[in-house]
């Protein structure tokens, strides 16, 4: 056989495998409003940058007549490519081949590309679209999942790991995305749960649709399992591409710097925050008034909206923002918002991204449900994450910084590098009303007109303590600044912190309140 003939045979073999589960299965996939695994990779990566490996892998299952079944690529595609020139490793489960079910070889392909990503120190993207374990392969499929989870954990904090849920992802399979940094979901397409609606109905008698149980919206808004929500696969791919521009390839590098841009003029920092601390506003407008090109890339927009997290750039450099959101639940810390903020702080710390905190919060959310849900242990995560982080950390106190919240939101005491406060800042042990009620209890109850006296004492307390100057006098705040100066102060603070070294005692690892 001449080389040409052999090459022709190769092309023929390739074509056969690339057809995946065949025309019928592909039609079905498209009818569900989904792209095929190969189209997904093509849409996501730079044009012609994708190179596939393990195309000719075959399964070795011999039970239940599996030896007669040909499963092209064993239901998963792996390879390397680039996104805006950044190298990535990628795998995509192919639902058209045996429902994308995970058998031994399928898992081996995934772990091969995971090992490669870790070794080469490049981001890993996993596109999940699978019915779950391949039951015919028994414990081998379980072994496969275990090997994936182990590698997710090894890679955590070393390379960025992104999970894209573009189909069902049920049972044990959900734990790989849960171990990764960012989870992307798409309305009507993504489904994630441990036990499905049919089992829940048989065992518990509770009837619920797949969408209401574990659809995209549920995981974006209620559970917090997902970080990015979109309406179409294409929108989802745009989000992934944008995220890749904000983060470094691995934990030894910094995110790529972009040409600096001024914020857009329509965001006027002076006009956003009302001086009355009880009036709401959207803190994202403050971020937009400060970041380059007013481009703020929000993460977990729908979940625990009382805290805002996301990336923006200051003078070209990526910064992670954490901000209380007075517009939602007055910006309190609660179980969910604590989890959301703490995890993001740890992400930024792991990947050398400076953190900027905008603080305006009245305290913790009161309620039996919160106490019983463990707001103590959840709230502790915020303290842990900020204390542990040794990337540059800067806090700007916009208005309220009361009590435990003041400490938790990256205070000087948790080793913030710079703490700035606007003139509207109120740094106090608690809100004026609560404080006056306790300190002046006797005066108020003994007064002829207790209500009038209470008002008087609240006013007195406000004038004396509800300002930034008491904390500034003690050096807990480095500078009281004009809101207009905020961007310049932050840009400068980050520039001078670029070579920060703040080593912590050597340890195997801490015991964070998980």
């Amino acid at each position: 056989m001449s080389l040409k003939r052999k090459t022709r045979e190769l092309i023929k073999r390739r074509e056969k495998v690339i057809s995946g589960g065949g025309e019928k299965a592909i039609k079905k996939q498209v009818a569900m409003g989904k792209l095929t695994a190969r189209d997904r990779i093509r849409s996501l990566l730079d044009k012609d940058s994708f190179h596939e490996y393990d195309l000719f892998v075959e399964h070795e299952a011999r039970d239940f007549d599996m030896e007669k079944k040909v499963l092209h690529g064993d239901g998963v595609i792996i390879g390397t490519g680039t996104i805006y020139g950044a190298p990535v490793c990628i795998y995509a489960q192919d639902f058209t081949v045996a429902g994308g079910s995970l058998g031994l070889m399928h898992a081996r392909k995934i772990t091969k590309i995971m090992d490669h990503a870790l070794k080469m120190r490049v981001p890993l993207i996993g596109i999940n679209d699978s019915g779950g374990a391949r039951i015919q392969e028994g414990v081998n499929s379980l072994a496969g999942y275990g090997e994936i989870f182990f590698r997710n954990t090894l890679s955590s904090g070393v390379i960025p790991q992104l999970s894209v849920i573009l189909g069902p992802c049920a049972g044990g399979a959900v734990y790989s995305p849960a171990l990764t940094d960012f989870v992307f979901v798409v309305e009507n397409i993504s489904k994630m749960f441990i036990t499905g609606p049919s089992v829940i109905k048989t065992v518990l008698g509770e009837e619920i649709s797949m969408e209401d149980l574990g659809g995209a919206r549920v995981h974006s808004e209620i559970t917090g399992n997902a970080h990015f929500y979109s309406l179409t696969e294409h929108e989802c791919f745009e989000q992934i591409k944008k995220l890749i521009t904000f983060i470094p390839w691995n934990n030894t590098q910094k995110a790529k710097a972009f040409p600096p841009k001024k914020p857009k003029s329509e965001f006027k920092i002076d006009d956003i925050v009302p001086s009355d601390p009880k009036q709401p506003y959207d803190v994202r407008d403050v971020i937009r008034a400060i970041v380059d090109d007013s481009d703020f890339f929000e993460i977990q927009e729908l979940f625990a909206a009382n805290i805002v997290i996301g990336f923006g750039r200051l003078d070209g450099d990526t910064v992670g923002f954490v901000a209380n959101q007075p517009k939602v639940l007055a910006g309190v810390l609660d179980c969910d918002s604590s989890d959301k903020a703490a995890r993001f702080v740890r992400y930024c710390d792991a990947f050398n991204i400076p953190i900027v905190v905008f603080e305006d919060m009245p305290g913790y959310l009161p309620g039996v449900d919160q106490e019983h849900a463990g707001v103590i242990r959840h709230g502790a995560k915020v303290l842990y994450a900020f204390s542990e982080a040794n990337v540059p950390k800067i806090t700007v106190i916009l208005r309220k910084a009361y009590g435990g919240g003041y400490i938790a939101m990256n205070s000087r005491h948790l080793r913030a590098d710079f703490v700035f406060a606007w003139p509207s800042a109120e740094i106090a042990v608690m809100g004026p009303e609560g404080a006056a009620n306790i300190i002046f209890r006797k005066e108020i109850s003994g007064a002829e007109d207790p209500e009038e006296m209470r008002k008087l004492k609240v006013k007195e307390y406000k004038e004396k303590f509800a300002n930034p100057y008491v904390a500034a006098a003690k050096g807990y705040i480095d500078s009281v600044i004009d809101p207009e100066e905020t961007r310049n102060m932050l840009v400068h603070a980050i520039k001078v912190s670029a070579n920060k070294i703040d080593n912590r005692p050597a340890k195997k690892h801490g015991i964070p309140p998980f």
């Binding site: 808004e221 601390p277 909206a305 959310l365 609560g434």
Partner: protein, 105 residues
């Protein structure tokens, strides 16, 4: 973020703030003091055997009934001593989570 257009208020340490609620906050479980005299199903299941009758005097720790749930057969132990006021289920009957099965006087 499921928020309403109109501002709501939230009181933290005596201060009332104007803000919006999240869907999760609106749907949170309201705390109710538990009433030991009312026996509610914590899981869905079925009654395998009733061990008591209405009007019967029961000591704390006695079996009230045997039920099947999650493929397991369990004894339901009386949490208090008292007289059975009402039994809402029969042997073999299937019950849902939260259903009131039995009441003490």
């Amino acid at each position: 973020m499921e928020t309403e257009k109109k501002n709501k208020s939230l009181t933290i340490e005596g201060s009332k703030y104007l803000t919006h609620y999240t869907k999760k906050f609106k749907n949170r479980n309201q705390w109710v003091n538990p009433d030991e005299r009312i026996i509610k199903a914590v899981l869905p299941g079925s009654i395998y055997k009733l061990s008591v009758k209405e009007g019967q005097k029961i000591k704390k720790g006695n079996t009230l009934f045997v039920y099947e749930a999650m493929k397991m057969r369990n004894h339901y132990i009386a949490p208090i001593s008292g007289v059975i006021k009402k039994i809402n289920v029969k042997e073999g009957q299937v019950f849902k989570k939260g259903e009131v099965l039995l009441e003490f006087e």
